[in-house]
């Protein structure tokens, strides 16, 4: 039986980060993953991540995956793919299926980073081919380049549902509706706004009654639900679709930890191991990090992994207590900041009516997916001035700040608190470079010139659809609600390496439409 200092189960963001950290401290780790590719869910993530500049914000998920793999290889981390861990025993022995055989390995320590699986919700017809998980849709689109369907209804308005809906639009699918039984949108407002302005309607307090179709999905009926989640008769709506995407949360895959005898707890977020702040379970030497220890997102999983990796190095005597403390201090702040703001774990399910700045929350954003025209003016990123200037439609306190560093001129300020709303400083002259527009992971920044002198103005918006519109072409400007506001002419299309595939589309619209036009639809 082979022995390793550390056996990591799962080569996703948490597992790889822990293995790297352990290897940097001199341990010999081995990482097993049942998939053919490492990186967990990172390689499906084609959107730019939120967070701080120090922690990979505005970098696309798959690029973070590439960086992590490179770092793992530089540090001599051994990753074994197509290797399914079948059992984990309290003596820190694992059985692994590799090829056609079962192999046994013994670890002086074990890190379980097995992630999570998608939840399902049973409705009539839920087993019909064409009802798929949002994760499956991402796998098809972003890994295998297969369009999951043509007309899709998304169930679930959390970040997964919103992000995948946007990716479906990018893949050329029509998203007929985003439906959620909850009365308010669960994910980031900026993710919702991104699809609302493309014309996707939201149906909150609604859920699926049934999916129809014998061989495959041919339609779906939704209906409103009351406070007790019971259908209200007479509120049914039918959509002709070929795909229903389900994004109703994730469950930690913690069975290995339970088998190993770790103390477990049942929480609203799933069945998870009891862990200390380093990820140590109740069984000495067995650790957990990432979604398996409680659902969060990839950025926190990577930091948790680093902390667990350092803690394991300390447990095995490779890192002294001071070294661990130092590592922990540098990472705890970052982890803490990711858990701040309106979407902090403590606010889950709660209605936050005011921002940290004391500004009223946009209820329209929570219920319809976009900030209404009469609500937008109250946010500090939305200002009026002569000439081109950024309009930042960032209205919720989320931990993200790449925009303030994107502006070389210093137009944008967030300050020390990463969740603060961005403030536009009009005493600094905007040069219209567009770096802020491209840096915003929420695609919430626009460059607006309200009056170019002839009764018209320009709006520069982030654009991530192909094929790109051409300069000079005429189309339709859509409002935040996805409805037509006016005709628009494309005056420039900018693509630069620094924009990282977010193209900057500048459209010319009448002056009085510059604060309304937020998307461009080709005629």
């Amino acid at each position: 039986m082979e022995r390793y200092d550390l056996i990591v189960i799962g080569a996703g963001p948490a597992g790889l980060s822990a293995a790297i950290e352990a290897a940097k401290n001199g341990l010999k780790p081995i990482v097993f993953d049942e998939n053919a590719r490492p990186g967990g869910q990172l390689f499906k993530q084609i959107h730019k991540f939120f967070g701080s500049k120090e922690h990979k914000a505005k970098i696309r998920g798959f690029k973070i995956g590439d960086d992590l793999l490179a770092e793992a290889s530089e540090n001599g981390v051994q990753v074994v793919l197509n290797a399914t861990v079948m059992g984990l025993y309290p003596e820190k022995e694992v059985t692994v299926k590799i090829g056609e055989e079962i192999h046994h390995y013994k670890g002086d320590s074990i890190l379980t980073a097995t992630g999570a699986s998608e939840n399902m919700v049973p409705f009539r017809g839920w087993t019909t081919p064409g009802v798929i998980g949002a994760g499956a849709a991402q796998t098809m689109m972003n890994l295998h380049h297969i369009k999951p369907g043509n007309k899709v209804l998304m169930l679930g308005s959390g970040n997964v549902g919103l992000v995948v809906s946007y990716q479906l639009l990018q893949a050329g699918c029509e998203v007929v509706a985003v439906v959620d039984a909850a009365p308010r949108i669960g994910g980031y407002g900026v993710h919702a706004a991104k699809i609302a302005r493309c014309g996707v309607p939201f149906y909150l307090s609604n859920t699926i009654v049934e999916v129809t179709g014998d061989e495959a999905v041919d339609g779906v009926t939704i209906a409103e639900v009351d406070r007790n989640f019971q259908f209200i008769p007479g509120t049914e709506k039918h959509f002709e679709v070929d795909t229903v995407c389900v994004a109703v949360g994730l469950s930690p895959m913690a069975q290995l930890l339970k088998q190993a005898g770790c103390k477990m707890k049942d929480t609203p977020g799933g069945f998870i191991p009891e862990c200390d702040e380093y990820g140590a379970t109740s069984v000495p030497g067995i650790f957990a990090a990432g979604d398996v220890a409680g659902i969060e997102e990839a950025s926190s999983a990577m930091i948790e992994g680093r902390i667990a990796g350092a803690a394991i190095a300390n447990y095995l005597g490779y890192l002294d207590a001071d070294g661990l403390k130092e590592k922990e201090n540098s990472l705890e702040d970052a982890l803490g900041s990711l858990r701040q703001g309106m979407f902090a774990p403590k606010n889950r399910g709660k209605l936050v009516t005011k921002t940290e700045e004391g500004i009223d929350t946009s209820m329209n954003l929570l219920e319809k997916g976009f900030v209404a025209d009469d609500e937008i003016e109250r946010y500090p990123g939305v200002t009026h001035t002569v000439g081109i200037h950024p309009v930042m439609e960032c209205t919720q306190n989320i931990p993200c700040n790449p925009c303030q560093d994107a502006c070389a001129k210093g137009c944008i300020s967030i300050g020390a608190n990463i969740t603060s709303l961005p403030v536009v400083k009009n005493d600094v002259k905007c040069i219209g470079c567009g770096m802020c527009v491209a840096s915003c992971s929420g695609q919430a920044i626009f460059l607006v010139d309200e009056d170019t002198g002839d009764g018209y103005g320009t709006v520069t918006l982030p654009y991530e659809f192909l094929p790109l519109p051409e300069t000079g072409e005429k189309g339709i400007a859509l409002g935040r609600d996805g409805k037509k506001v006016c005709e628009a002419e494309v005056v420039s299309v900018r693509s630069a390496k620094a924009f990282d595939h977010t193209n900057l589309l500048t459209i010319r619209v009448p002056s009085d439409m510059t604060m309304k036009a937020r998307f461009y639809k080709r005629a």
């Binding site: 039986m1 079948m86 059985t95 055989e101 079962i102 192999h103 046994h104 469950s251 069975q255 339970k258």
Partner: protein
Amino acid sequence: MKDIQEKRKEIGPFIPGPDDDLLICRCEEVTKGEIRQAVHAGMFTIEEIRRFLRCGMGLCQGQTCGKLVKGIVARELQVSPAEIEPATSRAPMRPTEMRIMAKDGGDDRE
């Protein structure tokens, strides 16, 4: 869990529902009605129901239906899902063919 007969009396008899034919465990084709009936027959833990109906013992090993079964059992017993005793976790964690199980290279254990 308290006395099984007492609890059965408390939750009342099985009343058929309009969605009893809804498949819950796809792998083993177990319906909502079968799970509800099992509860009324006195099976209150996931372990018992799993052995009796095989729900959660198919290809996905309960990854999809585990939470759903738990929710149905909890509703039937009128308790929170957190109070339902979870099933045992045991190897192999993923479905494995017997010919592979037979090639267990672990016989060099000391």
